[in-house]
Symmetry: C2
Subunit: 489 residues, 2 copies
């Protein structure tokens, strides 16, 4: 391969490697949330990473990006295929394709990476994991309530306590009502306005006002075009947002507040109120606490395909960065109803609702909150002294593995000191020493590396060290497995 | 969304959806093989789906495909990125990028989809799963032997019996010796010749002869250019292949056979023999059976980056298609040494060896052999009669879930008959019936659906049916969970 010029060893911008404890923390989230989904009767589905661009649709907020936010390429037969940007659009394609043979309602869960053609920047990843559950073919409010109750159970399963997360629920039709009253009919203008309102929690009322009007210039100097709503309608939206943003109110209190705003919301608003009231009844019947699922009409979500009810999971857990500054993770999941997404293919309306966990973001949040679970331990390392004694080392390592203990033979060519350093780097609980003396005496020396570190810290000088041999014990060769197990357990 | 024209609901050619039992069978393979890898001391790593094209390198056999077999796209900053075609090339990039801080040798395992820009066709998938383990930074034969022994344990962990799979091992340098003797120095010509030999098991000696010569026209009418070796060298290769292809011989017998061919193999051949002999000693020391890992010099593998030792796992299990015709699955995994792959980046040679399970192919093989494990069961289904009794249904379903029983509330709007059909389609073990009478009497009717099917089969007419109510039992409401558990367990 001498003819190949030397490439730089780096991964593409916006993509990350994950290993060790970080990786197992993410896998733990997926395993625990999946366990909840299965217990609630959802069936696994794995669609391929690619969809035809037309099947995927263009529902992402960042329509200013190349290919409108997706990573796409042209197939041999000149058809464009793109990597999924979520698990919902592929589900709609799958459901439409297999509707006749699927059990109805179709309840499926899915996890895996999704890809977005994000503007590269700190913390902006172009590949991240989501873990979704959806019910396709049910218009029942119990379906939405179930997704919400399950989302709450999923959040707890990841290790959060009830006070550390909340799912906020609203219905986009509340704003449809306002837009109808304001004479806004253009769907694109409505969507732009909804996406402006979606930024309420981040930009506050001033930022939203600009985005509902002509537009907004952000700190980075990027200008976002606004929805150009008439000023009286902008005022109406502001009044609405102000009157409903009370995070302490119970679900029924929020519904009362909205009802008291009254006629301004029109038919669409009344429909939204009815749907939310039905979901509240189902949530109460399921015993879902008021502070676990709140109604918050400022929630709208950025994806285009939602048709009414929308969910957003927010982390209340206070997390800090390396410098101890508080981090706001905001949304760690979301979802809602997308009753028209399957109809894109079939023409037949099939109601659907679902929720998606932002696994990568949730893992990052738990990590910086020191809640990402136990550090992963390395294997027991069997030290190598002489190739002539290889048989003894191999026997020891296979004995340990057959006893279910993760173990390995050191396969490098470095000396004993470097091998102990290696065992440390692996996070090994113990090292197994089979020197010539031990082998001759039918014994084995085992070093408890955790105990060793602890004792070593208390030792002041080299002589003491040599005398103490921190954490080391010599036992009969036949006691290898039992001794190691007593150290690990 | 009325303005969107209707797309067709289909996944791109060469991509497949996976659900239900098929999906869980693949996940079972990954879970069991990963458990083996971890017990052998390998640490998880997940690299992103994309790599820069130059970092990925071009080592695939199908260089006639667009982008030489990879799916690639141009990034915003005009750099080409491509989806990984295996887990080895990204590992080399990762190891080169992090070598200073990694424990050495670095032992990692990885699983996930890989993508190939395959010529679409039956059974030719463009996304499939692999599950790899590699040791980077060890030139020890014990490292290769360990990978092989672990591969054997992995095959057994997937549910195969020892007689149903074998890993064949060889060393490419055997042919380097022949090529040296034949005066072939061009690396591309050597690679073309190796890839011709790689097809020996599929095309037989005649096919290989054509591909070592001018070229071969296959059934589909595609012409593959040959290696254009001189005829005497082709003869030499044929003699070699003929003399060594004896699947009954022990590892040491194969080495003797090769040794007896003698000088023809030259220095490279002698080196290959030494390496294979050392691996044989280590395999014996690890107690790896002769029929679990065989030496077979006809094995070469198609990927360019292998530098010497190569592995190939073959399924011996006889499998049949729907029409009962025997299917040949051939290779269900492979690997080998790639001592130059990290050096591509750093210039510093870092020896490496690894093995990859073809998870998707292995799952397909186990499936058609009826060895893919238990069918996945659906949840217990709680039947819905009247919205007024919703509270009773919800209480029942949450009681079951809290007891760890997968259960769901039927969320459609169809009648009782359709709900039982639904429960059947879900593969539900039982249905829970809470009619008005049951609720009033503090009872619940439970239908054991498996028993029901069995008894129903024995019933001849409708009257009998009504009388028998196959599989149904009425118990006290308080006995719901215990009765369901007795049906499931």
């Amino acid at each position: 391969m001498t003819d190949i010029q030397r490439p730089e060893a780096r991964s593409p911008r916006g993509f990350q490697d994950r290993r060790g404890s970080d990786l197992s923390a993410e896998r733990r989230i997926i395993a625990r949330v999946s366990e909840v989904y299965e217990r609630w009767g959802f069936e696994g589905l794995e669609t391929p990473a690619f969809e035809y661009v037309d099947a995927l649709g263009k529902f992402l907020p960042d329509t200013d990006r190349p290919n409108e936010g997706v990573l796409a390429l042209e197939d041999d037969d000149d058809q464009w295929i793109a990597l999924r940007y979520d698990h919902t659009a592929p589900l709609a394609r799958f459901a439409a394709q297999n509707w006749e043979t699927l059990p109805k309602p179709y309840r499926r869960y899915a996890y895996g990476p999704v890809w977005r053609n994000e503007k590269p920047g700190p913390g902006r990843l172009r590949q991240f994991w989501q873990c979704d559950a959806d019910t396709v073919g049910s218009d029942r409010p119990e379906a939405d309530a179930e997704i919400l109750a399950m989302g709450v159970e999923g959040l707890l399963a990841t290790g959060l306590t009830p006070d550390q997360a909340v799912i906020r629920v609203s219905n986009r039709k509340l704003f449809d009502g306002l837009f109808d009253a304001g004479g806004i009919t253009d769907t694109h203008q409505r969507l732009t306005a909804l996406r402006a309102i979606d930024k309420f929690d981040r930009l506050g009322i001033e930022g939203v006002r600009l985005l509902l009007g002509e537009g907004r210039l952000d700190e980075s100097g990027d200008y976002t075009k606004g929805a150009n709503l008439p000023s009286n309608l902008i005022g109406g939206v502001e009044t609405f947002l102000a009157s409903v943003s009370n995070s302490e109110a119970s679900r029924s209190e929020v519904l009362d507040t909205i009802a008291n705003i009254g006629a301004g919301l029109g038919e669409a608003g009344d429909a939204a109120l009815k749907e939310l009231a039905a979901i509240d009844r189902a949530l109460n019947a399921m015993g879902v606490a008021q502070d676990a699922v709140k109604f918050d009409p400022t929630i709208v979500r950025g994806l285009e395909y939602y048709t009414g009810t929308v969910f957003e999971a927010e982390l209340l857990l206070e997390t800090k960065d390396e410098k101890g500054r508080p981090i706001r993770f905001g949304s760690i999941g979301g979802g809602g109803r997308y009753d028209d997404l399957v109809a894109r293919f079939t023409g037949q309306t099939i109601p659907a609702t679902g929720f998606s966990f932002g696994v990568s973001r949730l893992a990052a949040a738990l990590r910086s909150a020191g809640r990402s679970g136990p550090q992963t331990r390395g294997p027991v390392v069997v030290i190598v002294f002489s190739d002539d004694d290889m048989q003894h080392y191999l026997d020891a390592v296979s004995e340990l593995r057959n006893a279910g203990v993760a173990a390995e033979l050191y396969l490098g060519r470095a000396g004993m000191k470097a091998q102990f350093k290696y065992a440390d780097r692996r996070g090994a609980p113990a090292a197994v020493i089979l020197g010539g003396d031990e082998i001759a005496a039918g014994e084995v020396t085992i070093k408890d590396l955790d105990a060793g570190r602890a004792q070593a810290a208390a030792i002041s000088n080299n002589e003491e060290w040599k005398a103490a041999r921190p954490g080391q014990m010599k036992v009969a060769r036949s006691a290898l497995v039992s001794t190691i197990k007593s150290i690990i357990e």
